[in-house]
Symmetry: C2
Subunit: 396 residues, 2 copies
């Protein structure tokens, strides 16, 4: 019982501090997300060290971000993403090219090897859409065009990041195989196209049958099962799990009003999503602030990471108008797990130094922490001209 007691206490600590700091930040008109991340920094190993090493909390965090992207998917009909498909593709590609080149060149300039420069470039590529999605959800603007362009671009840019990862790990091992690159790209693209073309039809046939099941809320349970299943498949084929969750939501989006799916998902969201943001906070490494040279490198990389997405994605979205381009540009700035994973792979195969690893972690955390307040400000300034669609994600 000792163990479960400890876990329950930590659970209470995480949940309570996330909600409390979230509330305080909202009262100061800031993003609750930042409060939740701050809760993680405080509870994490750098300050109070109260989370422990149980694997349960990272897993709850992962289920949390899966539920977050599933909820976002539920607000995003396939047709609407299709309509912004070209914009998303341009935003995704430019948003990969610019940060990669910036990271690559800067790392070369400060006297690192080509392989190291490739890894740093790769780690700067993938947007972590969770943060932006949460900010948009809190502001009730998930159903705007800019949000759709970002969501579409984030899915695509994750696919590109996986291909880039395959290339750089190939280079790191000295065994770059074009066949492997081709395979991973095909797998990822095939998964998405299969789901949208065929998966959707199957779902639309199965759901009316499930609705007649005797199990209470059978459609909702099946929807969650479908979300977990696609997350597992995405993770299995080396895509981020959240891509599967987002696609699951998107496929079910048209059934959402009939079966109240996003309303029913709300309490899972309320309970699980804070774990994701708190765990992000616990991974913050504050020791970098004692090393001025490293801190400078990290600040410059962070600047390039921001500029790269801002220029690349902003340019790609310029036809939406200046302010929407700004929203898309900043919305694509946060980096997340994928960047950290690429950095940790580089570190584990000794392709990058631990200093460069710390720089990447700093960049990921900085882009994550600073995006919500900026995004919030731009969107709220924007909305003075045109009111937001209302609180679509949390209807009462």
């Amino acid at each position: 019982m000792e163990n479960i007691t400890q876990i329950l206490i930590t659970l209470v600590l995480i949940f309570a501090s996330a909600k409390l700091l979230g509330e305080i930040f909202e009262r100061f008109k800031q993003s609750a997300v930042v409060g939740e991340i701050l809760a993680g920094i405080i509870l994490g190993p750098q300050v109070l060290n109260m989370i422990g090493t149980s694997e349960i909390f990272p897993v709850l965090a992962e289920i949390g971000v899966i539920i977050l992207l599933f909820t976002v998917g539920l607000q995003t009909k396939v047709e609407e993403i299709m309509r912004v498909g070209k914009s998303s593709l341009v935003v995704a590609v430019l948003g990969v090219v610019f940060p990669f080149i910036f990271g690559y060149l800067y790392t070369l300039i400060i006297n690192h090897t080509t392989v190291e420069a490739m890894f740093i470039g790769a780690a700067m590529v993938a947007t972590s859409v969770g943060i932006t999605a949460r900010v948009f959800a809190d502001l009730g603007i998930i159903e705007t065009k800019a949000a759709r362009v970002i969501l579409g671009a984030a899915v695509l840019d994750d696919v590109i990041a996986m291909v880039v990862l395959a290339i750089v790990t190939g280079m790191g091992k000295g065994t770059l195989s074009l066949v492997k690159i081709g395979l991973i790209s095909l797998e990822a693209v095939g998964f998405i196209i299969f789901l949208i073309l065929i998966g959707r039809r199957i779902v639309y046939r199965v759901v009316p049958r499930v609705a007649r099941f005797r199990t209470k809320d059978a459609v909702f349970s099946s929807a969650i099962l479908f979300c977990l299943f696609l997350s597992a498949v995405a993770s299995y084929i080396d895509l981020a799990a959240i891509i599967g969750a987002f696609l699951a939501g998107m496929i079910l989006a048209e059934l959402n009003p009939e079966f109240n799916l996003s309303v029913k998902t709300e309490s899972l969201y309320n309970f699980l999503v804070p774990f994701f943001f708190v765990m992000l906070g616990t991974w913050v490494d504050l020791s970098i602030f004692n090393q001025p040279a490293l801190l400078w490198a990290a600040l410059i990389i962070t600047l390039f990471a921001i500029l790269g997405k801002l220029l690349g994605c902003g340019l790609g979205a310029l036809h939406l108008g200046g302010k929407d381009a700004l929203v898309v540009g900043f919305g694509m700035v946060p980096r997340g797990e994928v960047g950290m994973i690429i950095a940790s792979i580089g570190l584990s195969m000794k392709a990058i130094t631990s200093d460069l690893y710390t720089v990447i972690i700093f960049m990921v955390m900085a882009t994550t922490l600073f995006t919500p307040p900026i995004l919030r400000r731009i969107v709220l300034r924007k909305s003075e001209e045109k009111p937001p669609d209302g609180e679509k994600i949390e209807p009462e």
Copy 2:
């Protein structure tokens, strides 16, 4: 990513098989719970061995049973438990005395030591109210008088079980301290009385303030937090965590209609509760069926476990009328974690043999598996005379 992929796949397997077998059992007019436990037996180490050793699933199971008892608590107003308080107390005490004496005497008769007999008696004492609560919830009769007597008795009998455990571990170690027994009893009783008298007033003052928070669904989040907090406290003072969860729900029961708490908890329930029953299934040890002598002992202990509660609790509830007494008697039959914990403590301090341990595990599983169909039958036969209150626990 390998690790999270594996966990997601197992998550999908557990959830899918629980819902599928639950549905099949419901179609055959059986209890979905039994289907979920069967899913656990099939996925568990005895058959397919697909769950692995990750600590995440037992923890999800624990959170699941916490949410289950919280939901049950939300349907149970303090006044209503008070009204049946005397019945519950009599049911609890007789339901402890009879099984303890049966287990104690039988173990002595088959030539075991006094300490062993005390442990077996103790392991037969505590009702696991999760199973019965779930059956009642599925049938929509949580708000009947028999259900209330059972819930009240289960809380009390858990308290008594903790005291009995303190006594037998003291005997096992040869250091039985009356002070320790007194302390643990005081702690448990004090916790419950404090919550009902003072905790409730605090909650009723705090909730209207929380309702004005900016965080979305702040009251619901706080309710879940309160539930987890009391579970952690209960677990910390060596009560079962679910007692805390049940008390949290009970304290919030009067606020339930205003803030839609049980409706909002539903999707957490749908997602998490199956993990509890599947994990119960994975703990089933089928090897006992290859050992006839052990199997006989296990069957006789199981019979005594059933008879003990049926006689003790049935006698205690006789004033409710014959059929309600039968419902209470059978409703108190399932043993759960507490019985297994007492047995495992006995095993780890070498106070009982591993054969006796297996016997206890068999008894726990058998009482868990056979109660739902019997209870369902009695209740449904009963309801031909008087229709149930309707589906109070899962309003749409």
